[in-house]
């Protein structure tokens, strides 16, 4: 990196990085065992303590913010497992986002296809719900017309980059219609109404996992909630915020706040840990915009994950009694953001453990990241694959029939993991909503 560029980046880092948080890190090292990239490499620089030291060193003028610095900031999965481990409560997630925001403002050097993917995803796709819908429709055509089969059979997937080809294999069957087109915008509660909830439909969830969105709505309705799905909501902005596109993330947040305020809901429900985590932090995202303080706080304190609201406030449908004595063995792969940011890791476990025909088996390190982490598995394939391989060793050891997840990224990653590393054919990856619905409502 040229000297002048490095100096400009240092100045931006100085402005963007919260120096209080950098100072709060007392370098005790308690975060190291929690960090997946440190676990994989054993290198201090690949740990939260190391990355904070690098940020501080650039701001303090001890080191130049060079390419290696940028790479290291991008190497973090953003799983935030270090935050609960930190005695001093350092807001690491905010620091890494601020660092990436500064880098993004200066970078000229994303590798070719990473640049294309980023632009496509961040600018052209995710912010536009209609385009996400179109993507869904396109995928449906791709799958329905036999094109998918043809592509796979002819080996044409090999034309994609290896990572995209891997992802292609994990695509769910797509319906092409979003949740509103299928269920409308207002779905009444079954029985006496407990509260009105706003459903956050998400981009990936609504275009690729629409069935899961439908089942989320029906589960909520069964549990006593009136569900409103504001039509004007859009992408949560999580991927933007995590990758340094803070400006775009803020615009998306404001638009969502407006949509849900107009709907006048008691809670805002997410079924994707990754979305939920940024939704619950909209007040932080907009912290430097005083005009938005009241609205963003209103929004943030209403956000709940589907599992959490079912456990805390819901009237759960009685699960059907098992048909036979066969219990299915289930293991739960935490969504990092549901666990570490929304602090909602217990609820899915409670729901699963309460099902009569389910045996919940914890896998070793269930709480550590699976390597999906937004688009990390596309941009950092090597580390993502290494993490996934170790994750699957732990999942295989449980001999589970189902790996249950709470986030579309994790779900696709686990499907990929099963495809590549499962030691038996019977194991399936499934979103917790689909799993609960099939056992609580369907039968």
């Amino acid at each position: 990196m040229a000297k002048s560029t490095a100096e400009a980046l240092r100045q931006t880092l100085k402005i963007k990085l919260d120096y209080d948080q950098l100072t709060n890190c007392m370098r005790c090292g308690f975060c190291l065992p929690a960090c997946p990239t440190f676990k994989e490499t054993g290198l201090e620089a690949e740990s939260p303590r190391g990355r904070i030291a690098l940020m501080k060193a650039t701001v303090d003028g001890v080191m130049e913010p060079n390419d290696q610095f940028e790479d290291q900031m991008n190497h973090c999965l953003g799983c935030r497992a270090c935050e609960p481990a930190c005695p001093a409560d350092v807001k690491y997630g905010q620091l890494i986002e601020q660092a990436r925001d500064a880098i993004e403002a200066h970078t000229v050097r994303h590798r070719g296809w990473v640049k294309v993917v980023r632009k496509l995803v961040f600018k052209q796709l995710f912010p536009h719900q209609n385009r996400m819908g179109l993507l869904g429709k396109g995928l449906r055509i791709y799958q329905k017309t036999g094109l998918q089969t043809a592509v796979r059979k002819t080996g044409a997937v090999g034309l994609f980059s290896k990572q995209l080809a891997d992802l292609e294999r994990t695509l769910p069957k797509v319906s092409g219609k979003g949740v509103i087109q299928q269920l409308g915008t207002r779905i009444p509660a079954k029985g006496e109404k407990l509260a009105t909830v706003g459903m956050f439909r998400g981009c990936l969830m609504d275009s690729m996992f629409t069935e899961t969105n439908n089942k989320t709505v029906r589960l909520l309705s069964e549990a006593g909630f009136e569900v409103i799905i504001p039509e004007s909501q859009n992408c949560c902005g999580a991927l933007h915020a995590h990758s340094g596109e803070t400006h775009d993330a803020k615009q998306l947040a404001k638009s969502n706040i407006r949509a849900f305020q107009e709907a006048g809901v008691d809670y805002i429900i997410s079924n994707a840990g990754g979305c939920g985590a940024i939704l619950i932090e909209y007040d932080h995202l907009l912290h430097d915009e005083p005009d938005w303080r009241e609205q963003s706080e209103w929004f943030a304190k209403r956000v709940k994950d589907i599992s959490t609201i079912l456990v805390e406030k819901g009237r759960l449908p009685q699960p059907s009694q098992p048909q036979s004595n066969d219990r299915v063995r289930v293991t739960y792969q935490d969504s990092c953001h549901l666990r570490n940011v929304m602090k909602g890791g217990n609820s899915p476990r409670k729901l699963l453990a309460a099902l009569p025909d389910v045996e919940l088996v914890e896998m070793k390190d269930a709480g550590s990241c699976c390597g999906s982490a937004g688009i990390y598995n596309v941009t950092q394939p090597e580390m993502a694959n290494q993490i996934l391989e170790h994750k699957m060793e732990n999942a295989n050891a449980t001999k589970a029939h189902y790996i249950v997840t709470s986030n579309p990224g994790c779900l696709m990653q686990m499907k990929l993991g099963i495809d590549k590393h499962a030691d038996n054919d019977r194991v399936q990856a499934v979103h917790i909503v689909d799993f609960l619905f099939d056992r609580m409502v369907k039968s």
Binding site: D20, T23, N24, M26, R27, C28, G29, F30, L32, P33, G42, L43, E44, A45, G50, A53, L54, A57, V62, M63, E64, N66, Q68, F69, Q72, P87, A88, D89
Partner: protein, 471 residues
């Protein structure tokens, strides 16, 4: 940056990718767990075995380049900050458990193994390795040996030095020595094993250690006793020991700590208490039950205001939470947390706590005290802000006076964290000038060119005693 020819030699010794001198590697090995210290090394090296350590040391010795060996850098005395540059040697690649000898009840390990991973492995075999520093989930056995780490079980079970039977070390010259072995008795010459434990990387680089294992206790019970009278709490500690009871754990929190902990963890602790003792006993069922009963009697006799005994594991965990929250709660108060470890004879704990509180007030700084009452090892912890230089100066003055007070009470400047850089100016207060001279001679014998962790343990100047004419 080192001369290219030397770098080539080092790369030859360990392999191309295991010597690094990029900015990222240098910055991330310029600090340890100690606040406010930073110094860049010239290079970072990751040896894979003893032969490589020896080769590296031979090269560095030839070119007179300093070396700091380190594990995870969790120490709190600046012990692994490369203040004179040179090479930092990270032992993480040497992390194997080489042998667990079930006939002799010993384990032989490489220095880079994480303490907790080792303990879990040993416990999986139905055995027990007691040293449990608070940093054990990330600290390494090699680091524990270098600093002679303690922990919550030190009172009954002793510290790291009581569990190291033998060492393999590389000297500054590159030569390899072995001390001790799987022997319970060995008086052949000076006890170099004990000398090397706690030598903070200034005498040799530990490359292998043989550790003593013991059978685990069968039963455990936990209790909490709260006192409005500080001396009551302190007398309780002394009287438990006097009554020939050695609890596995005997921990202490003072009033400022209780307030901070309760505010953080919302445990409903009574805020008017002067001190809380956390007591745990382990061993045979009958012994544990009898000891806990006797301890409660002593607590009552010393006018404990409240006593709670855990009836099961879950309740015990709740009681432990109070003590465990102390560090976390204090760390969240202000940006910079300076955790020290002045130690006094256990009969002097109340006097020491009062002294600490008086000194904190005198210098107008916040210092909360908790720690291992059973072995007199207190952790006066200052919460401050590194950016406020004037306040940091007052904190430093306060700590100097606290160490002074500890020595006046027959104590020492550090019970388990080590001297390193931070306590070096105070070492002479404890060991005297003849003591320093003999230690320097020992250093000279091991490391004549002063290459191993230079600048540590021995300061250029001893700090002036704060209170010179004290009654």
């Amino acid at each position: 940056m080192l001369d290219r020819a030397i770098v080539a030699e080092l790369r030859e010794a360990v392999g191309e990718r295991y010597y690094k001198e990029d900015q990222e590697s240098l910055v991330t090995h310029s600090y340890d767990g100690t606040p406010m210290l930073q110094s860049l090394p010239d290079g970072v090296i990751y040896p894979g075995n003893t032969a490589e350590v020896s080769a590296v040391m031979t090269i560095l010795n030839k070119h007179r380049i300093p070396l700091v060996s380190r594990g995870s850098g969790t120490n709190l005395c600046g012990g692994t900050v490369p203040v004179q540059g040179g090479v930092v040697m990270v032992m993480h690649r040497m992390n194997d458990i080489l042998e667990v000898d079930l006939q002799n009840l010993t384990a032989t390990v490489q220095p880079g193994i994480i303490t907790k991973r080792f303990i879990e492995h040993i416990e999986g075999l139905g055995l027990f390795y007691p040293p449990d520093p608070s940093s054990m989930s990330i600290s390494t056995i090699g680091g524990n040996i270098a600093e002679c780490s303690g922990g919550l079980r030190g009172l009954k079970y002793g510290t790291t030095k009581d569990y190291v039977l033998g060492l393999e070390c590389v000297l500054a010259s590159g030569e390899i020595i072995r001390t001790g072995g799987k022997l319970m008795k060995d008086v052949a010459g000076y006890d170099l094993t004990k000398l090397l434990i706690g030598s903070e990387g200034t005498l040799a680089i530990v490359t292998e250690a043989t550790l003593k294992l013991i059978p685990p206790p069968k039963h455990k019970k936990t209790m909490l006793a709260m006192f409005t009278d500080l001396y009551g709490a302190a007398r309780t500690v002394s009287r438990i020991i006097e009554n020939r009871i050695i609890p596995a754990t005997l921990e202490f929190m003072d009033n400022p700590t209780i307030r901070v902990v309760d505010d953080y963890a919302k445990l409903g602790l009574p805020l008017n208490m002067a001190a809380i003792l956390l007591i745990e006993q382990d061993g045979d069922f009958e012994t544990v039950e009898r000891d806990i009963e006797l301890i409660s009697e002593i607590c009552h006799a010393e006018k404990a205001d409240q006593i709670s005994i855990a009836s099961n594991q879950e309740e015990a965990l709740k009681l432990l939470t109070a003590r465990r929250s102390a560090f976390t709660a204090l760390a969240r108060l202000r940006p910079t947390t300076i955790l020290e470890d002045a130690t006094v004879p256990r009969s002097k704990i109340a006097d020491m706590v009062l002294e600490i509180n008086r000194i904190a007030q005198k210098y107008n700084v916040q210092i909360c005290t908790f720690g291992h009452a059973g072995d007199g090892n207190l952790h006066p912890t200052a919460t401050t802000d590194a950016r406020d230089h004037e306040e940091i100066h007052r904190v430093e003055e306060a700590f100097a006076e606290i160490f002074e007070a500890a020595i006046q009470l027959g104590g020492t400047i550090t019970g388990e964290h080590g001297v390193g850089l931070v306590k070096a100016p105070f070492l002479e207060w404890k060991v005297g000038s003849a003591g320093i001279a003999i230690m320097k001679n020992i250093k000279q014998a091991f490391d004549p060119l002063n290459l191993l962790n230079p600048g540590k343990m021995f300061a250029k100047e001893t700090r002036r005693r704060v209170v010179l004419n004290r009654g």
